[in-house]
């Protein structure tokens, strides 16, 4: 059983290589202390495992998430490393390769994107490069799978030999080399190359520094570092060890490249550049994006998604329900069990299943946008707007997705590197009015605002967006103002995503959603059912004598100033916590109006148009649904922020609805 680590720059097709080399994989929890999930796959040839490491440009981490790669090298000592290198960006990629060579483990390089290199008129002498570096190099085109089998064979056979036999690649000069030697002397021999540890230490790698502090006294480390830093500053042009190390490495890389790479033709304007001109143009950029989003939502929620959902819904409420009902009759199941299964579990399951086609389609399109490279352009075009409120262009996509469903929107916030901006995005995405809330709006606007349905619904979406922008500004100035807002994004060449990668990516995200959201919505449905089934005196006679009613009555006075101080509204809102669309189905039951028409009529007895609007605003903001809260908890890894997201939403919802209702009453609307 060999354990291989897969390392490379971001955007090198590493994921594609991972998919080509593994037959199955799973997430084995998070890496310690971060929200990055650890992905381990089983090799196709069944000889071991492949661990996918986050893409990095250098082992020196800029954030805790990036520290994962170094931590892996320090703690897990893999048998073999596969370094995926983008052949069209050799200079940049070799910077990481050099550091991996210094690590002195077995290493095989997969030189990817050889097809792009050819079209750009660049020739790489792979054999010479392999000699210079001292590692086997397998040219591959991961997208089509060319070379991948050979790569796997090479890695599995461990033919690359141990690192000590390799030529020492970089001499760091008379200031640092003696310091490296001194540090090596202080360390006992272990599994990890001491030279690598020393170099990383002087390069400023915090993970390595921490690791060393456990083995050597901090003052000695500090002293050695400062001494060397001083020497470098006075004796060289560099302003520190890190810079000198970088300069030396760059020189070595330039030499290697001049020996092994040749540019034979001048590159003309590429397809990517031409497309970018269109996509980032001041006049066409945003319209193109809006069109794209419009089509996305159309496909997901109307053309394809809804049809599939309805079909599934039909099966569940039709043949499947009937089948189960009959089975229970046959088994003489008691009334409690029957009600639990039919009204609790089946209702809950269908609540989740209905979502599934739409979620998968949404994730598919999202993966497409990510893999094709368009996502980076969207972030760039939208950055200016978001910069104004303390956010980052990358926050845009999560929020847009949030209009469909908050859960995948929040999951999409993982692409934001900066912790502060990621947190803000996660906290504010629930303000994007999701499709579940739309079911509540549909009901009320049909009942009260028949002539202006679209306008009223639009006003609610706009309120959500405006609120998000205002709160973003507020939060970034107050609670999250410890870091500046930063933006930098690499714009990879446009490429047509590979099917297998897309599929795996979609399946991963969809499965995560189903597991998390599904569990909670299902559990929630059962709880609601239980509260409506049981009452203070045992089994409730009907729902108006159940626990749900009791809780609703206790809470209803709180809602009186907002215009809807009746227990049915309060109870519906409570159930809405589990999934917002449940508000409607609860109202159906509580107002004893099972049909849509009947409910519309009944509502008029309980609400005025102003009160209806106030209710809708409250529904828009009040709390994220339970599934969303669960995802927030997971993505922030913090109870404090999860509670905060629930708390601030409640408070803002209350104040806003209060304001709207009282203002409306004051100016004479009833």
């Amino acid at each position: 059983m060999i354990h291989i680590g897969l390392i490379g720059n971001p955007n090198t097709g590493k994921t594609t290589v991972f998919n080509a080399l593994t037959k199955s994989y799973e997430y084995v929890g998070n890496w310690a202390g971060v929200t990055v999930e650890k992905k381990v796959g089983v090799l196709i040839n069944k000889q071991g495992s492949l661990t996918d490491l986050p893409g990095v440009y250098s082992l020196q981490p800029l954030s805790k998430d990036e520290g994962v790669t170094t931590r892996y090298l320090v703690e897990e000592s893999p048998d073999q490393l596969i370094n995926v290198v983008d052949a069209s960006q050799l200079k940049r990629n070799l910077y990481l390769t050099l550091q991996l060579l210094e690590y002195e483990s077995r290493l095989v390089m997969g030189l990817n994107m050889m097809d792009m290199v050819e079209t750009r008129g660049v020739q790489i002498n792979v054999d010479r490069l392999s000699n210079v570096l001292g590692v086997p190099i397998i040219p591959i085109v991961a997208r089509t799978g060319i070379g991948c089998k050979k790569l796997l064979d090479c890695a599995s056979k461990n033919v690359s030999g141990r690192g000590e036999d390799r030529p020492q690649t970089v001499d760091y000069g008379p200031q640092i080399e003696p310091a490296i030697a001194a540090l090596i002397d202080m360390l006992p021999q272990g599994k990890i190359s001491r030279r690598w540890v020393a170099i990383q230490f002087f390069d400023g790698n915090e993970v390595v520094t921490d690791w060393l502090s456990e083995r050597l006294p901090a003052e000695i480390l500090r002293g050695l570092y400062d001494q060397t830093e001083q020497k470098v500053r006075t004796e060289t042009e560099a302003d520190g060890c890190h810079m000198l190390i970088r300069l030396r490495r760059s020189q070595v890389i330039s030499e290697m490249i001049s020996q092994c790479m040749l540019q034979t033709k001048v590159s003309q304007t590429s397809f990517t550049q031409r497309l970018d001109r269109l996509v980032t143009h001041r006049l066409t950029g945003i319209p193109i994006f809006l069109l794209f989003m419009y089509l996305t939502f159309k496909v997901t929620f109307e053309w394809l998604g809804v049809r599939l959902s309805d079909t599934l819904d039909g099966w569940i409420s039709g043949p499947i329900s009937e089948g189960i009902a009959r089975a229970m009759e046959y088994a003489h199941a008691g009334e409690f069990i029957r009600s639990l299964i039919m009204d609790g579990i089946i209702a809950g399951v269908s609540g989740v299943i209905v979502f599934v086609p739409q979620i998968f389609i949404l994730f598919f399109i999202l993966s497409f946008i990510e893999d094709s490279g368009y996502m980076a352009r969207i972030a760039t075009v939208m950055d200016r707007l978001l910069e104004g409120v303390g956010l980052n262009g990358k926050a845009f996509i999560p929020m847009i997705i949030g209009f469909g469903c908050n859960v995948p929107g929040i999951m999409a916030a993982r692409t934001i590197e900066q912790p502060k901006e990621r947190l803000l995005t996660i906290l504010l995405t629930p303000l994007m009015s999701c499709s579940a809330r739309l079911t509540v709006y549909s009901l009320f606007v049909a009942a009260f605002f028949e002539a202006h349905q679209a306008a009223i619904v639009l006003s609610l979406y706009v309120i959500g967006v405006v609120l998000a922008l205002v709160l973003a500004k507020l939060f970034s100035m107050t609670i999250a103002n410890n870091e500046p807002s930063l933006f930098i994004v690499e714009l990879p060449p446009y490429r047509y995503p590979q099917w297998k990668t897309l599929w795996r990516s979609t399946w991963e995200k969809g499965k995560g959603f189903m597991r998390k959201a599904g569990t909670f919505i299902l559990a929630g449905s059962v709880v609601i059912w239980l509260l409506s089934y049981l009452g203070p005196s045992g089994k409730a006679v009907d729902i108006s004598h159940s626990f749900l009613q009791v809780i609703g009555s206790v809470l209803s006075p709180i809602f009186a100033p907002l215009g809807f101080g009746n227990w049915q509204s309060a109870s519906s809102l409570i159930t809405g916590f589990f999934a917002k669309e449940v508000v409607v189905s609860t109202m159906n039951i509580l107002y004893a109006a099972p049909t849509e028409e009947g409910l519309k009529i009944t509502l008029h007895q309980f609400f005025s148009p102003l009160q209806a609007y106030s209710f809708m605003v409250f529904t828009l903001v009040y709390v994220p649904c339970l599934a969303t809260v669960a995802v927030i908890r997971k993505e922030t890894a913090s109870r404090k922020w999860t509670w905060f997201s629930v708390g601030y939403a409640l408070i803002v919802a209350y104040l806003l609805a209060l304001f709207i209702y009282q203002f409306g009453v004051w100016i004479g609307l009833t």
Binding site: Y57, S58, L62, S88, Q89, K91, R92, Y95, R120, R233, T234, E235, E237, D239, R246, S250, S267, T272, Q273, D276, R277, T280, R282, G285, A376, A379, T380, V381, D383, R384, E387, G393, P484, L486, F487, I488, V489, E490, L491, P492, P493
Partner: protein, 93 residues
């Protein structure tokens, strides 16, 4: 101490004499002389992408309303905010 002062002094000199990347005409190739005042995180990221003092880059596009700048270097395309782009001092080649 001496080495440090010289370094800052010479950097400041370079900054004052060279022009800002954002003042350059779109599409012309220029060489970076200084990235002195830039936020260290962005500066480090750019050097990860082999964009630092001495690199040859081209300004591809400036997004409207003082939006981000798109830069091309060594066949890579990167977008950074105007504020950071203004810290990049260049000379013509």
């Amino acid at each position: 101490m001496n080495g440090l002062d010289n370094d800052i002094h010479s950097q400041r000199k370079r900054v004052r004499s060279a022009m800002k990347l954002t003042d350059v005409q779109i599409g012309t190739k220029v060489k970076i002389t200084s990235m002195f005042a830039m936020n260290p995180f962005i500066r480090r990221r750019l050097s990860d992408l082999c964009i630092s003092e001495g690199s040859l880059i081209t300004l591809d596009h400036l997004l409207p309303f003082s939006g981000p700048c798109m830069i091309e270097a060594n066949g890579q395309a990167v977008a950074i905010r105007l504020k950071e782009a203004e810290c990049i001092r260049v000379v013509a080649v």
